[in-house]
């Protein structure tokens, strides 16, 4: 393999490039990114950068290895990939040029979803990229009378918390009866709703958004029940879609992401990693696509090693996913993959004090550990979930622990 192209100047793209070099790949290595920026860190975009406490430059990821070594990468920034020709083994770029490759890493991530009627009117934002963040921050600095956040998922909830930190009035709209209910269950989701209300957020659940009104700038959000909420700024936080548009017609299997085998291989000489990759995780017996920061790093490196394994069998990628979310003075962390219908039980602390550890179980196994301001125990359970911790064993040992 003489040349490898990484599409996506993202966390996953950068970590795959780093791993390729660490594993000894000495050929030409090109990283293509549609944004003008070198890779940067996204978690601060909804928190410190949006709050104005961090200069945007602090999000820059060292564009080298952890030891500071030069990875000898060729950067093609501000260059959107628009097509993939598998027969010719070339990536087409928006400017009409194309890049030949022997090996390809797909790490194009995901794009924020808009709602119908939300695009094209000033004051309505999504938050995914650094430029999104700076545009929203400019609007927040202008002192809006009310910010309406549509969607109480993690991004929306973090934005709401950051806006309250700026002293702004915030309405948080959620179509589900309980925020995060599908991911964390209704009991934990209710804790989140209560926490935001305690911090002065106007939380409205079970409400659909029917439209946006105003002139050149947004002025109001119209709700499904016919009522309206005044809004100088709107933030849409209704999730993301994997960025696979450029792969249409390439022959790769696309189904809510680039479909890979258990080793992250999408086709001979083509791997995918990060938010864009969907693969069967043998540890959970489940096909998953994981949008977490930590997974971008881990899967980026795994996909790189898989690519270099060539015609070899590779090894399955079987992480226990983990992520965190900071809102106000609370840190949520979650290891595993809880789903609707799982058993949930609080094993330390209590929901009322908002400092607790909860376990999620399915088919006799522990499949998730969630902590609010309990980061260390969550991480210990992460390793034990990887070891196949049985639900009964977990509960028994907790009973035996004084």
């Amino acid at each position: 393999m003489r040349s490898i192209v990484v599409v996506g100047a993202s966390l996953a793209g950068l970590r795959s490039a780093e791993a390729l070099r660490h594993e000894g790949f000495a050929g030409a290595l090109t990283v293509v990114g549609d944004e003008p920026h070198l890779p940067y860190d996204r978690p601060p975009l909804s928190k410190q950068v949006l709050a104005g406490t961090w200069d945007p430059g602090r999000t820059a990821l060292a564009a080298g290895g952890v030891g500071g070594e030069d990875l000898d990468l060729e950067w093609r920034l501000g260059a959107r990939a628009v097509g993939l020709d598998m027969a010719a083994r070339r990536v087409a770029l928006e400017d009409g040029s194309s890049l030949a490759f022997d090996g390809l890493v797909i790490a194009t991530g995901a794009e924020a979803r808009w709602l119908a009627g939300s695009e094209g009117r000033a004051g309505i934002h999504v938050l995914r990229t650094l430029d999104d963040c700076l545009a929203l921050r400019t609007d927040l600095e202008a002192g809006p009378r009310r910010v309406v956040v549509v969607g109480a998922g993690f991004i929306g909830a973090e934005v709401a918390a950051t806006c309250r930190g700026r002293g702004l009035d915030v309405t948080l709209l959620e179509v589900l009866p309980v925020p995060l209910g599908r991911v964390l269950g209704e009991e934990v989701g209710s804790v989140y709703a209560a926490m935001h209300r305690d911090h002065g957020v106007d939380v409205r659940t079970g409400v659909a958004v029917a439209g946006f009104e105003g002139g050149d700038r947004v002025e109001r959000v119209r709700l499904g029940d016919g009522s309206e909420v005044e809004a100088d700024v709107v933030v849409i936080g209704v999730g993301v879609a994997p960025a696979t548009g450029w792969l249409a017609g390439s022959g790769l299997t696309l189904d809510d992401g680039v479909v890979c085998d258990a080793t992250c291989l999408a086709a001979p000489g083509v791997v995918a990693a990060g938010d864009v990759a969907r693969w069967p995780n043998p540890r959970f017996g489940q096909v998953m696509r994981v949008e977490h920061w930590d997974n971008a790093i881990d899967q980026g490196a795994h996909a790189a090693r898989r690519l270099l394994d060539g015609d070899g069998p590779g090894t399955p990628y079987q992480p226990v996913p983990w992520f965190w979310s900071d809102q106000y003075d609370r840190k949520l962390s979650l290891a595993g993959r809880p789903g609707p219908g799982d058993t949930m039980t609080v094993v330390q602390g209590s929901l009322a004090e908002r400092r607790f550890l909860a376990l999620y179980g399915r088919a006799g196994r522990v499949v998730g550990a969630l902590g609010m301001n309990r980061p260390a125990p969550v991480m210990r359970y992460r390793a034990r979930i990887a070891g196949g911790l049985a639900w009964d064993d977990a509960l028994r040992e907790l009973e035996e622990t004084p």
Partner: protein
């Protein structure tokens, strides 16, 4: 190899403990403790992985 943690940045996410428990421990008080600030060189790959995967980018390696 000497471990340097910026404790102003550290938020005790405990990722480092998961990767290199020989070096890092987050205790029940939610603070990170460095168990060995000059770990043996065979732990370097683990320590580098901890540096890479720290959500706050709070860990670095000094070569003094």
């Amino acid at each position: 190899m000497r471990i340097v943690v910026d404790f102003d940045l550290c938020e005790s996410n405990a990722v480092c403990m998961d990767i290199a428990p020989e070096v890092f421990e987050v205790r029940d008080d939610d603070f990170l403790y460095i168990l060995d600030d000059r770990p043996p060189d065979e732990l370097r790959p683990k320590v580098e992985e901890a540096v890479r995967r720290c959500p706050k980018q709070a860990i670095s390696i000094a070569e003094d």
